[in-house]
Amino acid sequence: MTVLQIDNLGFSYGQRTVLRLDTLTLNEGDTCAVIGPSGCGKTTLLHLIAGLLQPAQGSVAVCGQRLDALDASARDRFRGHHLGIVFQRLHLLPALDVLENLLLAQRLARVSPDAKDARRLLDALGVGEFARARPAQLSQGQAQRVAIARALVHRPALLLADEPTSSLDDDNAERAIDLLQDQARAVGAALLVVTHDRRIRGWLAREVQLEPPA
């Protein structure tokens, strides 16, 4: 099944074109890195795939559904259900503990909350003991694992990761990518990593080089 289909995609702010991507197709289980320098439109691409921005030209379809064809509320719900996103800044909700963060993600994704499943995922990511901890009590590495768990707890079709390695040393960077790959595979999600980090080369099955538009 095709999880992500991008065709002839372009986005601009006013006259300034910030992104051009001719085509990208991800099928179930695919892993792919989109690598490019700052200003090549990586974050814009991520936002377009997530339906947070609408393409100026071309199209983005997730699981066969063009996001710009949906109305705003339907798009929000669609995003919640089909996508999992790990941002560079993790944005765990500070008022909730780790497990509650995961349960909330399940509810917002419109899947029935399953605390057992959430705990299993936390265990698999090695942060099971922090289920009842507040995000503020976690180290950066632990928090990232929790964020990955939260992005996968509702079993999305596509996991998006924004600069997951930027603040990590070589060993930990590789470990983070492995973690993303393993866990995405475990829930049957395709993985798309967007990064400027060239160390990532060769770590994922596919790579797309993104260049700043002329």
Binding site: L52, L53, D76, F87
Partner: protein, 421 residues
Amino acid sequence: MTWLRLALANLRAAPLTSLVNAALLALGTASIVLLLLIGEQFSSTLARDARSIDLVVGAKGSPVQLVLSSVYHADVPTGNIVKADADRWAADPRVAHAVPLSLGDSYRGFRIVGTTTDYPALYAAQLASGRFWEAPMEAVAGAAAAREAGLVQDRRFAGAHGLVDGGHEHAGQPYRIVGVLQPTGTVLDRLILTSLDSVWNLHGEHESAHDNHEHDHDQNPEDEHDHGEAHEHDHADAHDDARENTSMLIRYASPLAATTLPRQINTESQLQAAAPAFEVTRLLNLVGLGLDGLRAFAGVLILTAGFSVFAALYGALKARRYDLAMLRCLGATRTELLWSLLLEGLMLAALGAVLGLALGHGTMELIGRWLAASRGVSATGWVWLPTESWLLLGLLVIGVLAAALPAWQAYRADVARTLAG
């Protein structure tokens, strides 16, 4: 459910801010509730005391003073009236009952009222023990007067001239308690009742104008203690006619009497007629001005609390905009975010309202118990006034309004721009 839990978590995450805001709301609410309850119970106490009294007839003067002195026993009388003058109106067909009162003495601050047994009947008072008076200088004590002044059965005591403590004592002629009334929750509880003869006797002594009264009445007390029938007596009895009372309480035979009788009394006689209902309303309007001022102050307190809730939610919004953006990424719609923030304001307001209502009613109950113990006035905090439902609604509206702007901003926020910034 999800949003309720999240709103609760967010409030709990900033416990100090939430508590201060809830406390501010609670204090304002409690003040208003207390004022409402006090006002309500004050006016219902006044209404209860004047329940069966349509009109008070007494000496010319201030009508409010007449009502205060003769219905509420809270002011000095306007003067005396000649019994025969009053009896003329008691005989009027528009009058169903007429109860004479003779005031002037007191015992340890409790007023001694010369009257007939029709007076306690106005308040449907029952004897807790003993009997009603049958001879002069026999007295029946109201429940609170009995308890606080120790006026038990057969107790003898000397009345003091004047309505406050410290007047000249009629030591030579003590009263004797022959009965004690059950509590009625009215002014009656704080009175000592006796026959009209008793008062006349004591004062006849002083004025020495009616030397032979005592003798006369001792001979036929049965004749004298029922003044409801006084007008049927032989009016040739000059002494009887010349005797004076303080006032007369009148119950109309029909409501129509209200349109003619008071005016007729005021114009055709040397007497004054005042309707308690009317005078009390006038009085409450005056007192109401003060209560309104306090109420406005409490309202300002609530509004301040509303602004504080607004400031807290609005201030937290900046810190929470990434959280809100993340919620959108997790699948929350704009509308859901809007509701979640409104819900926070609503929950704070509800918390403040519940605390405030509890505080207000609790305080009123304490005041009520203190009043019952010290003044024999019945008041309670365990009543729910219709106005309070509106107050509750108003508070919830304030909570929603305080959250409206932050909620709207959360609704409008551009997720992509927030996350990119």
